[in-house]
């Protein structure tokens, strides 16, 4: 009796219990697909975060007020921003952009209106510092900032919402009761997560303060270092100047402002994302374990239930080796097919966004998940089969 015939016997054995075979495969399928997909989601979100941080620019430093209680002494002001532009004290700083931002400013054009998610007031250097180039038209100039001219550069989403099929440049929109002239449209920015990075508008700092936010504190100051290598030097220069301006006691640990730079942010975020992926992987491993117990259970039941059949086969002269081979092939067909279908399901599933994250498959997770499920299937299918095949035929036949 050759191997091919044993395979045929196994197939007949599987097809004799179609529903149970299908359910066993389903268990393996879900276990494998869950592991691959969950790890892919973790990996995908980690990549999304790092993409986002890289999009901020790697040689920028963001200074934000910790702003406890809004006391004026801790607020960042335009004067502080100006003080940072100091070739003597801060030689590694290329540009400084003070930023105020108003959330949900409503922009109206000829009766249609659109709530802009972030309305930014800043200086022209912001465009390069925040790696947000202007796509069409032009950015506003330093002169516009000095004069407080009401000009605005809008993001793609705003342009599409308010001016469907129309060139928005030189059109006039109303924001907070004042007329703004659109001078440019920002280049499309890849947005990740929940916020639409294109739902934005940028106007001169003075104009935004005058119309929307008032002349209070700045939201943040974006400092661009001369080069990515000089980020750390620029950061210490900035903090020295700010400490002087804000009268911070050097001995006290806390400062009224917070400095973030993209590369350190990237580092922490990568660590966080790794932890996140590990966590998801652990959850997935548990689901694989539970799936594995399911496989174990069904394999044990299947073989135990067929102990009598094993007895009949032995009584008809089947050698032990042949019986064991048949059951091992049945078990491996189930686990290999189930595993392959699980991989297919995971690959299909990864084409869709899951909770806002585009999953990125980790190849090693496929091998891991399939390997574990096949090993479980073979071990727990093979073990009881080996036990039954070792029984004397009469004991196997009497088995209830």
């Amino acid at each position: 009796m050759n191997f091919f015939e044993v395979v045929r016997f196994s197939l007949r054995g599987l097809s004799a219990n179609k529903l149970r075979s299908a359910l066993t495969m389903l268990g393996i399928l879900i276990g494998v697909a869950a592991v691959i997909l969950l790890v892919a989601v973790g990996n995908g979100s980690a990549q999304a975060i790092s993409d986002r941080i890289e999009a901020l620019g790697t040689n920028t430093i963001t200074v934000m007020s910790t702003g406890r209680g809004g006391s004026s002494s801790t607020a960042l002001t335009k004067e502080m921003a100006d003080a940072l532009t100091d070739p003597e004290l801060a030689p590694d700083v290329r540009s400084v952009s003070p930023v105020v931002s108003a959330s949900s400013a409503t922009m109206t054009y000829e009766g249609s209106d659109h709530a802009v998610a972030t309305f930014v007031g800043t200086t022209p250097s912001w465009f390069s510092a925040s790696t947000t180039p202007v796509g069409r038209g032009a950015a506003f100039s330093d002169d516009d900032v000095d004069q407080g001219r009401r000009v605005v550069v809008v993001g793609q989403t705003v342009a599409e919402e308010l001016f469907p099929g129309v060139d928005p440049i030189d059109k006039q929109v109303t924001v907070g009761g004042a007329l703004f002239t659109i001078v440019g449209v920002l280049a499309e920015k890849s947005s990740t997560g929940f916020n639409d990075a294109n739902d934005t508008a940028v106007a001169p700092l003075t104009a935004v303060q005058q119309v929307l936010t008032g002349y209070g504190a700045l939201t943040s100051i974006i400092v661009e270092a001369a080069s990515p290598e000089k980020v750390d030097a620029a950061q210490s220069e900035v903090s020295t100047i700010l400490d002087q301006k804000l009268d911070v006691d050097a001995s006290s640990g806390s400062t009224p402002y917070r400095i973030q730079n993209a590369s350190s942010l990237l580092e922490t975020q990568t660590e966080t994302a790794d932890t996140f992926t590990t966590l998801l992987g652990a959850v997935a491993a548990i689901s694989l374990l539970v799936g594995g117990i399911g496989i174990t259970n069904i394999m044990l039941v299947t073989v135990t239930e067929r102990t009598r059949e094993i007895g009949i086969r032995k009584a008809l002269g089947a050698p032990r080796r042949l019986i064991l081979t048949q059951f091992l092939i049945e078990a491996s067909l189930l686990s290999v097919l189930g595993g392959a279908l699980g991989v297919a399901a995971a690959l299909i599933g990864s084409q869709f966004e899951i909770v806002g994250v585009k999953p990125v498959i980790v190849p090693s997770s496929i091998g891991y998940a399939v390997g574990v499920s096949i090993a479980i299937g073979l071990f727990f299918g093979g073990l009881p089969a080996a036990r039954a095949a070792r029984l004397r035929p009469i004991d196997a036949l009497r088995y209830e």
Partner: protein
């Protein structure tokens, strides 16, 4: 006479230990020659099933020697035992023991598959065996689509398809009604007529009466061993059946009045415990 098909000497089988020890067989010795048709009778607990399982190489005796076609079974390895079960023995169970959800012909093919016969030849021989038991038309039916008698006849076909030296039947009619019993016994009579060696276990006098030789077992020992008809002639049942076919009246009614040419053996079939 030629080498016996089956020869057992001093066969014992003990189950359990200490207080719970049960002596199922207490030194059974017997010789069965080619072409014989032996019925082993005994009440339940007499050890007849234990004896049958040992004869079928499904179980091993506690002590004693068992020569099957001249081969000492106790010295065989696991693989050789499998070979012996496959080539030398055709076993028929009381509970049929067909493989579920598998067609009749596939069930009959199974021993041939284990013997390494090619698929084409296997199918042909399986169909021939099914034809012998009169079920060639039901080859594609699964066990649950067949009546008990038909299932047992499929089991008989499966047992004889490898042309074994010995056919063993463990209460083959125990689960059957009288009509099915008759069908199955008819098959045995025909096989015996064709020269097969058959050992059958039963507690029904009617079944025992058709055999050429009757062995009675009480408490694990042989008490009587009587020849009912010559070994080289067809069994009585076969002759009666043929006669009844000639009568065209159905052999059940025809056989009953003169069921025992040697009626002395049918008296006291059940021994008190």
């Amino acid at each position: 006479m030629t080498r016996p098909v089956l020869q057992v000497t001093g066969l014992t089988k003990i189950y359990g230990q200490g207080e719970a020890t049960v002596h199922a067989l207490r030194g059974v010795s017997a010789v069965v020659h080619r072409g014989d048709y032996v019925a082993i009778m005994g009440s339940s607990g007499s050890g007849k099933s234990t004896l049958m399982n040992i004869l079928g190489a499904l179980d091993i005796p506690t002590s004693g020697r068992y020569l099957l076609d001249g081969v000492d079974v106790s010295r065989l390895s696991d693989g050789q035992l499998a070979l012996a079960r496959n080539r030398l023995i055709g076993f028929i169970f009381q509970s049929f023991n067909l493989i579920p959800r598998t067609s009749a012909v596939a069930n009959v093919e199974l021993p041939l598959a284990y013997a390494g016969v090619r698929p084409g030849q296997r199918r042909r021989r399986a169909m021939e065996a099914l034809d012998v038991v009169g079920l060639a038309g039901r080859a594609d039916h699964e066990p649950n689509q067949l009546s008990g008698g038909q299932q047992q006849r499929v089991a008989v076909a499966r047992a004889l398809v490898t042309e074994p030296a010995l056919l063993l039947a463990d209460e083959p009619t125990g689960n059957l009604d009288s009509k099915s019993t008759d069908d199955v016994l008819q098959v045995f009579d025909d096989l015996s007529t064709a020269g097969r060696t058959i050992v059958i276990i039963t507690h029904e006098d009617e079944v025992g009466a058709r055999a050429k030789r009757l062995i009675r077992l009480v408490d694990g020992s042989i008490v009587t061993d009587q020849r009912q008809s010559p070994i080289h002639l067809p069994p009585v049942g076969a002759a009666i059946a043929h006669q009844s076919v000639a009568d065209a009246g159905g052999h059940i009614r025809a056989r009953r009045p003169d069921a025992g040419p040697a009626p002395v053996h049918t008296v006291g079939g059940r021994h008190p415990q």
